[in-house]
Amino acid sequence: MASPSGQMPVGVVRSVASGTRLASHDNEPGGIRIRDLAQTYERVTAREIVRTHALRNVNLDVAPKEFVCLIGPSGCGKTTILKIIAGLLRPTSGEVSVSGKRVTGPGTDRATVFQTPGLMPWRSVVDNVVLALEFAGTPRGQRRDQAIHYVDRVGLSEFYDHYPAELSGGMQQRVGIARALAIEPQVLLMDEPFGALDAITRGHMQSELLRIWEQEKKTVVFVTHSIDEALLLSDRIVVMKDGTVVTTVEVPIEQPRTRESLLEHKDAIELRRELIEML
């Protein structure tokens, strides 16, 4: 638990001066490897070129089936990293590989849960999931059964034929999660999925996600700006600031965790204090 290096006598924060924690298994199925990633946005006007460096020099490895939280203030580039891993955004430089394969675009080995669920309002709950399966290339005959299986999994068995507008925000986000799980990806990318929910619903959804994650172990990259959420969910917390990784922190607390237990857990209190100082 304590760092053997001696440089960090207190706590569990490990310095990552080189920017990386080189895991040996990030080439295995579900492993993610990010090298020298940079993203620059350019706005050209008549008189000047404005460059925004959203990401620079990002190095990160995620082990298969690891749950990693990216945490940082808004605008620090967390979502940009997620979009690049998803293949929705091409990085300016650097490279990302998933399962040892370089990411050049979207693929069915990764699935994203977005901050706003992004459901098709003209499709019922099950049909929204069916659509994702159709996009992902699942054979027609399998789609419905598979969709229903995952809608059940997130606890919406009573709502197969409801339209998204008939659901609460939390329920809509469950559909978003079911949709991502349904294509059976190796990597689940979650972009502040509970950010728009009220605190109570948020708590329920977090426990729900942990329950599902116990059943379907996947690599998860979870973007959040909530320290408590990160402490509750993740194996490792990646702290970001101004477009780069400041440090990564192991969370040495055994799952299953609950919010109540974290309130009293010694390591959790210590970690929370350190994270608050860093952010």
Partner: protein, 270 residues
């Protein structure tokens, strides 16, 4: 689940009654009666020549039905309206989709559409008569030109306004460009397209009448011109009412189509 979902079947009889009888309907009816009453009183004071009262319209309608002029004028008009509006929906939606979905097409066509949009089509009618004559072809073209830009611009706007979030969702699940269009953009832009069709329908009817008035020989517009020449204001009103009815019928048909095509947009609170 903590949330209870109830499913109650509505008997057909109740569904029909709910659909037909409502407070709005009653007020609508009262307004109509009040309007007719005012018109009747004014008409009797001013005389048939100035303002034919509604009671005289019944006789006029009977006369026009007997002579067949009403039916033939209406059918004549409807034919050019149907073909003109059909073409306009086809071209307007098609071009709108093209412009919305392929940026270069929009960049090329945008100034042309903007320019053509502001041209008063009625001013083109004399030229169209020179080019295409006084026949059916010219009238269809006028109807088409009157309405097509409403539909085109609405469709284009609809495609451009598709929530980029939904496109991102589609892309993240590895949808190809064709799938994105057929499964997301098409549905997401439907509300705009129907709004365009509703506006276009009203414009198409105006175009139809304008063409007929200027050609002064055919259809409802021509018949209005003829009736006015004989100082038959009662007949003029009957024709105008028929035109309104066509408008209401088209709006209702488009609304029905919209409901069938976009069932998810119905109000749901009870």
């Amino acid at each position: 689940m903590a949330i209870a979902v109830e499913r109650i079947q509505i008997p057909l009889r109740v569904a029909i009654r709910k659909g037909v009888i409502s407070w709005e309907r009653l007020v609508q009816l009262l307004l109509l009666v009040a309007l007719l009453a005012v018109w009747e009183i004014a008409g009797r004071r001013l005389g048939d020549f100035f303002l034919a009262p509604p009671s005289s319209l019944l006789d006029a309608t009977r006369e026009m039905l007997a002579s067949g002029e009403l039916v033939s004028a209406t059918l004549d008009s409807l034919e050019s309206l149907a073909i003109g509006f059909g073409l306009c929906a086809l071209v307007g939606i098609g071009l709108g989709y093209l412009m919305g979905w392929y940026r270069p097409v929009a960049r090329v066509l945008d100034p042309f559409v903007s320019a053509a949009y502001v041209v008063p089509v009625a001013a083109l009618v004399p030229v169209l008569i020179i080019w295409f004559g006084l026949g059916f072809q010219s009238r269809v073209i006028v109807v088409f030109l009157f309405a097509v830009f409403e539909v085109l611009v609405s469709t284009y706007t609809g495609v451009k306004n598709v929530d980029p979030m939904l496109i991102d969702v589609g892309r993240s699940f590895n949808a190809g460009r064709m799938k994105l269009f057929r499964k997301i953009v098409f549905f997401a832009s439907l509300p705009y397209i129907f709004a365009g069709l509703r506006m276009g329908a009203a414009r198409a009817i105006k175009g139809m009448v304008v063409a007929e008035l200027l050609f002064a020989v055919t259809g409802l517009g021509g018949a209005i011109q003829t009736a006015a020449n004989y100082y038959r204001t009662d007949k003029v009103f009957v024709y105008i009412i028929v035109i309104s009815i066509i408008g209401i019928a088209m709006a209702a048909a488009i609304q029905l189509l919209e409901r069938l095509a976009t069932p998810w947009r119905q109000e749901r609170s009870s």
